[in-house]
């Protein structure tokens, strides 16, 4: 067992829960605690810095849920293995059962923890992305994660003005600039259907940031966004749907 050392990052918003897991992990042979933190944003920062082999991730945390943290970790090139921990969460557990995702029920038993740590496998990005779908309270992410070398940069969804698909990547345009995203426009459209709408085959725009729909000579229409100087061209096919969504907003 000494050959493969397990290095765990513990993420939980409750102090007693953190302390207990910390102690249990430290007592297991061949396992050590890489770090401890109390929220999702810190967890994402620490994963880049500490490179743990496995993350013990509480599901119900203020700010960013464990599920969302996991989905962002999926954007990393070498994401750590993930084991979720929860005291009681029917929705999430159903999803985990169906996708063979590792989880532990609190209070965690030592043997279960040992087993889970040893069998924790890396989840593929599609697996991680699927985690959000069945559970209503955990559904849409509140951030999207952009990979910068080994680190993750989080962009709040509220600050996103639009997504634009180029050949291979999706560019996300937000309040502080532009970044490249490793997700498909179609997935993004499904996940954020409530707040975003297609303006064009390759553009998904945030309804809340739209200032006006303008006529462009005889050529058609364009959208003016708050804080953007360049208008976004609207395709004829999307015009009717776009008008409807803007009107009902």
């Amino acid at each position: 067992m000494n050959a493969v050392a397990l290095n765990a990052l513990i993420v939980d918003d409750e102090l007693p829960a953190r302390e207990r897991l910390q102690r249990l992990v430290a007592e297991l042979p061949g396992c050590s605690v890489a770090g401890v933190c109390s929220n999702g944003a810190d967890a994402l920062a620490l994963v880049g810095k500490l490179k743990p082999t496995v993350v013990l991730l509480d599901i119900r945390m203020p700010g960013m849920t464990g599920i969302e943290v996991a989905r962002h970790l999926g954007a990393l090139e070498n994401p750590p293995a993930i084991v979720f921990t929860t005291a009681y969460d029917e929705y999430a557990l159903q999803a985990f059962e169906s996708q063979a995702v590792g989880y532990l029920l609190k209070p965690v038993r030592r043997e279960r923890l040992e087993q889970a740590l040893k069998h924790a496998s890396r989840l593929s990005s599609p697996q991680l992305l699927k985690l959000g779908t069945p559970a209503e309270p955990l559904a849409a992410r509140q951030h999207v994660a952009v990979r910068l070398r080994d680190e993750l940069k989080l962009i709040p969804v509220k600050e996103i003005r639009y997504f634009r698909a180029d050949q291979k990547y999706v560019t996300v345009r937000h309040a502080r600039g532009e970044d490249l995203l490793d997700e498909s426009l179609k997935q993004l459209e499904e996940e954020f259907a409530r707040d975003f709408v297609r303006a064009h085959r390759s553009v998904l725009v945030a309804i809340a940031h739209v200032e006006a729909l303008e006529r462009l000579g005889d050529e058609g229409y364009a959208l003016r966004l708050r804080g953007e100087t360049e208008p976004l061209v609207v395709s004829r096919r999307q015009l009717a749907e776009l008008r409807k969504r803007l009107a009902s907003h």
């Binding site: 409750e14 007693p16 609190k106 559904a139 509140q142 969804v157 954020f192 409530r194």
Partner: protein, 331 residues
Amino acid sequence: MVFAVVLIAELVALTLTLARPDTAFLTELARISMFLQWLGLTSAALLCYSRRWLARLTVAQSSSAAFALLLANTAVISLLALWLGTAFGADGRVAAALPSEHWPFLLRNAGICVIVTALLLRYFFVTHQWQKHLRAEAHSRIQALQARIRPHFLFNSLNTIAALTRSDPQRAEEAVEDLADLFRATLRDSHSPLRLKEELELTRIYQRIEALRLGDRLHVTWDVGQLPMRAFVPGLTVQPLLENAIYHGIEPLEGGGTVTVSGRVAGGEIEIVVSNPVAPKNPGTEERVGNRLALDNIRQRLDLAYGGRGSLTVLQEPDRYSVTLRFPYSE
């Protein structure tokens, strides 16, 4: 009971009379009524007398026994009527009112008795089943309404205790005692109300357990000095409000917040307000149904306890969520 028997007998008499249009209505009704009232009252007396014995039998057995008793009684009363018919045969007027042919009379009466008894037994059986069902339903409703502690709270508390067992055994011990008190309260008979003092004490116990887990993220301000502590309150009506405030208000806030519990007496009513800060709404997060269920539960228990005189109202502001509990002041 006697009145019901008389009424049923009279209704049957009326039915039988109505079915014979070729006779003088009132005379016929009087004749049949007299016979049936005898029959009805003696049958009721018989059944009443044998009630203890019948109660020991199964439903099928006691029904058959009741059937046999009534049929026998019908035969006896019919024979009596026939005997009277022959005894007073001399007086023409009386004789006309009494039956004279034996067998057809006996058989007709037996037939009618079988049908009416069958209908009545069926009616009593169905009514009885219905009442049993109603009682069972009311019972299970009360059981279900007995405030339940969220599993989320139970397992998190157990986890906290597991952690404290090593790091701070004394606090772990206290937490177990607190948890025991709280669960004992949820298992109480929900019919007997609590004194306000006890209810507030339970709420404070609940707060202590949550404080172990949430640390300084949880602050609770109490302003209940004016409340009459001897007043009665349906058990576990204030505690779930604090539980809701913590679950939906404090837990989603990274920095935590302050829940306020305040109370006063106004116009013979006790008013308790529990209010919590609300996390700014994030896109994609919907309000959980759990909150509404908990409030509905308290509302229904207030209804059971006070009829329409208790109420629970919700005030939703952009940054605060307040629930007001009102109920009549009684000691």
